[in-house]
């Protein structure tokens, strides 16, 4: 076990080159290139079956890639078995050893590497995750949150170059999950190890990660900082999977200048040319104009005159309104663009905005993004978030 790559606390780059995985005729992961910078918190986000866990398992060495290579800190580890790679994994449902107590679970990695005196390190690690008094308990005597912390301690004590987390919070209830998200983020900042986190929960990915890679159908759809992905989705899948988007099929009426002029039904919309990701944008072609529901404002039809000049507007009728505390979520039926969602902050509530009321939707054209129209407009919208 002496040939383990040196492990220091600064973490290492993970570089995947042309990596893919096929099972028989099924392709779990399409050839993909991915670089995770050292010390970053990286999230692989996607629905179940999108290949994110397979990608993680290829980094861990638990799955052999069909093609491509895995590099850790500049060293090719593709041919190394899992027990010779300087990475550790926090498994879904933790996979704690049921026949060992908490102390021995945490000490397992050190003992396998022939470390003699593990007592001090184990105790420090148990203190870090606040489980010192429970050291002699068996895993099945602990609650879900405590088991989760044992799993993290058991992996971190080895000071891996990369810590892999496979849906580590999936089995916890919502409140505990929020708490553990902050906890994991704190630990990551403290130890500076590269974290690669697999999750299907878009909110979890956005709160925790520096960089998020959205995966769909075995390929990475888009990669970037959470805010960037949210504001500038590149595909309909990303637009619908990360939060909610209103996507309106429109035709380009006029190009040139900073804005493209679009027509959707009778309405005219403006789209900043720089925010249109469609490959070609010529007059007469179709694009999808998108806007996030919280960026759209509602005005009662009687007040249409007070809408600022230059705003994008769409007339419609309120189909449904649900009050959820901080905001009210409306579904608006529009003649040209189908049903749209609008989230209004509950600051000054207009009593006339009830189902059936005629309204005008309006928003700053700068908040509009454009997507290529040759894709499924509903991709990623109906993905079951609870499926792991």
């Amino acid at each position: 076990m002496t040939d383990l790559a040196t492990t220091d606390s600064s973490g290492g780059d993970v570089r995947l080159t042309g990596i893919s995985k096929t099972y028989g005729s099924f392709t779990a992961v399409q050839p993909l290139d991915l670089t995770v910078p050292a010390g970053s918190f990286f999230a692989l986000l996607g629905a179940s079956g999108c290949g994110k866990t397979t990608t993680l398992r290829m980094i861990a060495g638990l799955e052999e890639p069909t093609t491509g290579t895995v590099e850790l800190a500049g060293k090719d580890v593709t041919a190394l078995p899992p027990y010779k790679r300087p990475v550790n994994t926090v498994f879904q449902n933790y996979a704690l050893f049921p026949h060992l107590d908490i102390y021995e679970n945490v000490a397992f990695g050190l003992r396998r590497r022939g470390v003699r005196s593990v007592k001090k390190q184990v105790e420090e690690m148990l203190d870090l995750v606040q489980l010192g008094p429970l050291a002699r308990r068996k895993p099945q005597q602990l609650s879900g949150g405590q088991q989760q912390r044992v799993a993290v301690a058991r992996a971190l004590i080895n000071h891996p170059q990369v810590l892999l987390l496979d849906e580590p919070l999936g089995a916890l209830d919502l409140k505990l999950r929020r708490q553990m998200q902050l906890e994991l983020k704190r630990i990551q900042t403290e130890v500076g190890i590269t974290f690669v986190h697999v999750t299907h929960d878009q909110e979890e990915a956005m709160t925790m990660a520096d960089t998020v890679a959205v995966m769909n159908g075995g390929r990475v759809e888009q990669l970037g900082a959470p805010a960037d992905l949210y504001e500038n989705p590149g595909t309909t899948f990303v637009a619908n999977f990360l939060g909610t988007s209103n996507l309106i099929t429109a035709e380009i009426a006029e190009t040139g200048g900073e804005h493209l002029l679009l027509t959707a039904g009778d309405a005219k919309l403006r789209l900043p040319a720089a925010r249109c990701s469609a490959s070609s944008a010529r007059t007469g072609e179709k694009v999808l104009a998108g806007v996030r529901p919280e960026k759209v404002a509602l005005a009662h039809a009687d007040d249409a005159g007070s809408i600022p000049e230059g705003a994008n507007r769409l007339p419609g009728r309120i189909k449904d309104a649900s009050f959820i505390g901080v905001s009210t979520q409306y579904v608006i039926e529009t003649p040209g663009a189908g049903e749209l969602a609008v989230y209004e902050q509950n600051i000054e509530r207009d009593g006339r905005l009830v189902p059936g009321a005629e309204v005008v939707l309006h928003w700053n054209p700068a908040h509009t993004f454009g997507l290529s129209a040759d894709q499924d407009i509903a991709a990623g919208a109906d993905v079951d978030e609870e499926a792991a």
Binding site: P81, Y83, H99, G109, A155
Partner: protein
């Protein structure tokens, strides 16, 4: 009436327990008997003669030693082979897998006398001398099924991610097997071994067909029952029962203490 209804479960439980234990109690009581004549079927008077001289009957302790020896070797053989087979059946998909599964199950389902007779025919045709080795081979054969069944159930219910976790934590395949797989499978293996020992020790039918002139303890009891039943048989029976009870109690005390600490 109401009292009866409320305690019906307890009463039924106690009656069942009595039903199970009564024969053992009879054996125990009659081990202190001093019978007139050769048969130990009627209570005469209390005596510890048999307890102070358990080997007092010719060939009794010899047959007991042989039975213990066979039981130990059969247990070792069946446990090792059975564990290997169980892992193979639980872990790998190979062509003869389902036929092996059926084959393993057969000795448990088949009438013992049929298996005994066919084994005897086989040994005869092959010209093998009946004795210690034929008995041992026969015992390993039928004990195997029980070990495989017990261990397979345990291995199948084991989370495969535990072994992956071990590998992820720097354990080589050998270390993974010794430190994780084996300890987790241990209760199943132990159950299989205990069953093997008990089955081998008191098997009569198969042994009788394949023993030749060798006499094991069950065969000795059977043989002497035709001419008379020495009290020493009850002594040995009682001792075996008490040892088994002590083992179970000890085991429970041990696990109980481990859980508390």
């Amino acid at each position: 009436m109401r009292w009866l209804r409320r305690n019906a479960v307890v009463i039924a439980g106690l009656l069942t327990l009595a039903y199970l234990i009564l024969p053992n109690v009879i054996v125990m009581v009659f081990s202190f008997n001093k019978p007139n004549g050769r048969f130990n079927y009627e209570w005469q008077r209390f005596s510890t003669d048999a307890w102070s001289d358990p080997c007092g009957v010719a060939d009794l302790c010899g047959s007991l030693g042989l039975s213990l020896q066979i039981a130990v070797w059969a247990t070792i053989g069946a446990t090792v082979l059975g564990t290997l087979i169980a892992f193979a059946l639980a872990r790998y998909r190979f062509r003869a897998r389902s036929s092996v599964n059926t084959l393993i199950f057969l000795p448990m389902a088949m009438p013992e006398v049929v298996m005994a007779a066919s084994l005897a025919t086989l040994f005869l045709n092959m010209g093998i001398q009946f004795g210690f080795w034929t008995i041992l081979i026969a015992h390993i054969m039928f004990c195997l099924s029980f070990v495989v069944t017990a261990v397979k159930a345990r291995v199948m219910s084991m989370d495969p991610r535990l072994e992956q976790a071990a590998q992820d934590l720097y354990a080589s395949p050998t270390q993974t097997f010794l430190k994780v797989t084996l300890p987790i499978a241990a209760p199943g293996i132990a159950a299989g071994a205990l069953l093997s020992f008990a089955l081998s020790f008191d098997d009569f039918i198969i042994t009788n067909f394949n023993a030749g002139s060798t006499v094991t303890f069950p065969m000795f009891v059977w043989g002497s029952a035709q001419r008379g039943t020495p009290v020493q048989i009850n002594v040995i029976g009682t001792a075996m029962f008490l040892i088994a009870v002590l083992c179970v109690l000890g085991g429970q005390l041990f696990t109980g203490r481990r859980k508390r600490s």
